[in-house]
C-alpha cells in the first residue's frame, strides 16, 4: 500500500506538487491523471525517493522513502518516463542485469526472464541488441525490467506509450493479474479509455493539487459527464 499525506514539492519558485494526499490500496489499480506539467511525474519520483518532498509524508508499505529510499525502492517496481536501454545489450541481457541488481535468486532468474519474454512477446528481440529498437520494443524491455523482481507495489508512468494494440492488451492483462495478485498498482496515463477500463479509483491532479478522486463512476456522477474524458476536462479546466 502506498499512502501520501499533504505532499508538497517545489523547484525554486515553481510549486510542482502542492499538498497532494491519497492512498493507493493493495489489490487495486489507482489511476493518476492530469494535464502535462500537473505534477504526476514529480509525485511518482517522490514515491521512489529519487525526489524528496519539501513537506508531507509518503509511506510505501509503512516505509518513508524520504528517510529510507533503498528500503522503499526494494518494495516498488517502477517504470519512469526514462526508458533508457543500453544499445549494446540484448533484451534478455537487460532483464538479466536488472534481475541480478534486484537480487532475484539465481535459480529463479532465468525462468522469470523467460516468463517475461513470453508475457510481453519479446521472443523476436530477446537476443537482439537494443540499438534500433522501436519505441514499443524499448517500452516492453523497460516494463519487463521494472517488474523483474515481482514487487508488491508497481508504479508505472505512461506504460502504454508506443505499444501496439497487442502489447497494450498484454499490458492490461498484466495489470489485471497484478490486481488479482493483491499488488498495489499506481498507473499514470493520458489515455482515459485505459484509465476507465482498468482503474478502481482515479486521482485527478491539476496544477499540483488533487482536483478529484474516487472510482471512475463517482467522478462521472460528480461532474455529470458522459465519459471519463469529459469529466477530466471539466475537472482540470
Amino acid at each position: 500500500m502506498i499512502q501520501l499525506h499533504d505532499v508538497r514539492k517545489t523547484f525554486g519558485r515553481l510549486v510542482a506538487v502542492d499538498g497532494i494526499s491519497f492512498t493507493a490500496p493493495d489489490g487495486a489499480i489507482t489511476g493518476l491523471v492530469g494535464p502535462n506539467g500537473s505534477g504526476k511525474t514529480t509525485t511518482l519520483r517522490m514515491l521512489t525517493g529519487l525526489a524528496r518532498p519539501d513537506r508531507g509524508r509518503i509511506l510505501v508499505n509503512g516505509i518513508n522513502p524520504a528517510d529510507e529510499p533503498i528500503a522503499a525502492r526494494s518494495r516498488i517496481g517502477a517504470l519512469s518516463d526514462s526508458l533508457g536501454n543500453y544499445p549494446r545489450l540484448t533484451a534478455r541481457e537487460h532483464l538479466r542485469y536488472f534481475a541480478e541488481l534486484r537480487g532475484v535468486p539465481a535459480a529463479d532468474r532465468e525462468p522469470r526472464i523467460e516468463h517475461l519474454i513470453g508475457k510481453f512477446d519479446m521472443h523476436a528481440i530477446g537476443d537482439r541488441r537494443a540499438q534500433g529498437f522501436s519505441q514499443g520494443e524499448r517500452m516492453k524491455v523497460a516494463l519487463a525490467r521494472a517488474i523483474v523482481h515481482d514487487p508488491p507495489n508497481v508504479v508505472l508512468d505512461e506504460p502504454a506509450n508506443g505499444l501496439d494494440v497487442h502489447s497494450a492488451r498484454t499490458l492490461r492483462a498484466v495489470l489485471a493479474d497484478f490486481r488479482a495478485g493483491g499488488k498495489c498498482v499506481i498507473l499514470s496515463s493520458h489515455s482515459m479509455t485505459e484509465i476507465a477500463s482498468l482503474c478502481d479509483q482515479v486521482v485527478v491532479i491539476s496544477r499540483g493539487r488533487v482536483a478529484a478522486q474516487g472510482p471512475p463512476g463517482d467522478l462521472l456522477r460528480t461532474t455529470g459527464a458522459n465519459n471519463l474524458e469529459e469529466a477530466f476536462v471539466a475537472l482540470t479546466t
Binding site: R45, T48, L50, A51, R52, I70, A71, R73, S74, I76, A78, S80, S82, L83, G84, N85, Y86, P87, R88, L89, E93, Y97, F98, E100, L101, R102, G103, A142, R145, A146
Partner: protein, 250 residues
C-alpha cells in the same frame, strides 16, 4: 538487494565497453603509439624520456570512453533513473562503475608496458631492465586509481556525453603536458615533488626510464596521495548520485 551488485555493475560496464570496438581502438591508441614512436626515434636520437609521458597519458585515455558512457552517457540515454530505482545504494553503483573504469585504465598501462618491453628488446632504445618496467607499473597503478576516480566524477558532473568528453579531454592535458615539460624542464625529485599527483609519478617514471633506480618511499608517498585522491573522488561521486539536480539533469 544483491550483495555483489558492484560486481554485476562492473561486469555489465566491461561487456558493454568491449562491444564498442571503435571506442576501444581509439582508447588504446596511445598504449602502443608511444612505445612505437620511441622505438622509431631510437634509431636516430634515443628518447626514453618519452615513455613516461605516454604511459601516464594512456592511464587516462584507455578508461575515458567507459568513464563517459557509464555516467554522462547513462543519464543522457535515460538509463540512470531506472538504474537508481533498482535499490542498489549509490555507493555500490559507483564502486562497480569505477572498478570497470580502473580495469580499462590498467589494461591500457599493461599494454603500453608490454609494447615498451618489445621496443627495448628490438631497438637501440636503451637497456631498460624488466625490473624497471615492473617498478614503472607499480608507480603508475595509483595514478590509474586517481585517474579513474576523477574521470568518473567529472562524467557524473557533466550534463551530457559531449560535455563530459570536453572536460575529460582537458583532464588528459595534465599527464600530457607534465609528461613532456617534466622531461625538458625536470623538477628535482624530493618528498614534496613525489607527493604531487602526476608530477611525482612523472619524475619517478623518468628516472626509471633512464635506467636509474627509484627510491621506494617516494614511490609509496606519491602512490598513497593518489590513492586517497581517487577514493575521495569516489565518495564525492556517491554523494552526487543522491542529488536530484545531478540525477535529473540541471
Amino acid at each position: 538487494m544483491s550483495q555483489d551488485a558492484w560486481m554485476v555493475v562492473c561486469r555489465k560496464e566491461l561487456v558493454d565497453t568491449l562491444r564498442d570496438g571503435r571506442s576501444l581502438v581509439m582508447a588504446f591508441l596511445f598504449a602502443w603509439l608511444g612505445p612505437l614512436l620511441a622505438a622509431v626515434l631510437a634509431f636516430t636520437v634515443p628518447q626514453p624520456g618519452l615513455l613516461p609521458a605516454f604511459l601516464m597519458v594512456v592511464a587516462f585515455t584507455a578508461s575515458m570512453p567507459v568513464a563517459i558512457d557509464s555516467m554522462a552517457g547513462e543519464r543522457e540515454r535515460g538509463s540512470l533513473e531506472p538504474l537508481l530505482l533498482t535499490a542498489v545504494p549509490p555507493g555500490e553503483l559507483i564502486a562497480g562503475k569505477w572498478l570497470a573504469v580502473l580495469m580499462l585504465s590498467l589494461a591500457g598501462v599493461v599494454l603500453n608496458l608490454a609494447c615498451t618491453f618489445v621496443a627495448v628488446h628490438v631497438t637501440p632504445l636503451g637497456k631498460l631492465p624488466t625490473s624497471s618496467l615492473l617498478w614503472m607499473f607499480a608507480a603508475v597503478v595509483p595514478l590509474c586509481v586517481l585517474a579513474s576516480g576523477a574521470q568518473l566524477l567529472v562524467s557524473t558532473f557533466a550534463r551530457s556525453h559531449k560535455e563530459a568528453n570536453s572536460y575529460l579531454s582537458f583532464l588528459v592535458l595534465a599527464p600530457m603536458l607534465i609528461g613532456i615539460l617534466g622531461e625538458f624542464f625536470p623538477v628535482r625529485l624530493q618528498w614534496l615533488t613525489a607527493m604531487v599527483p602526476v608530477l611525482g609519478q612523472q619524475r619517478i617514471l623518468s628516472d626509471l626510464a633512464h635506467g636509474n633506480v627509484t627510491y621506494p618511499p617516494w614511490l609509496l608517498a606519491g602512490g598513497v596521495v593518489s590513492l586517497i585522491g581517487g577514493l575521495l573522488a569516489l565518495a564525492v561521486n556517491a554523494r552526487l548520485l543522491r542529488s536530484e539536480k545531478v540525477v535529473f539533469g540541471r
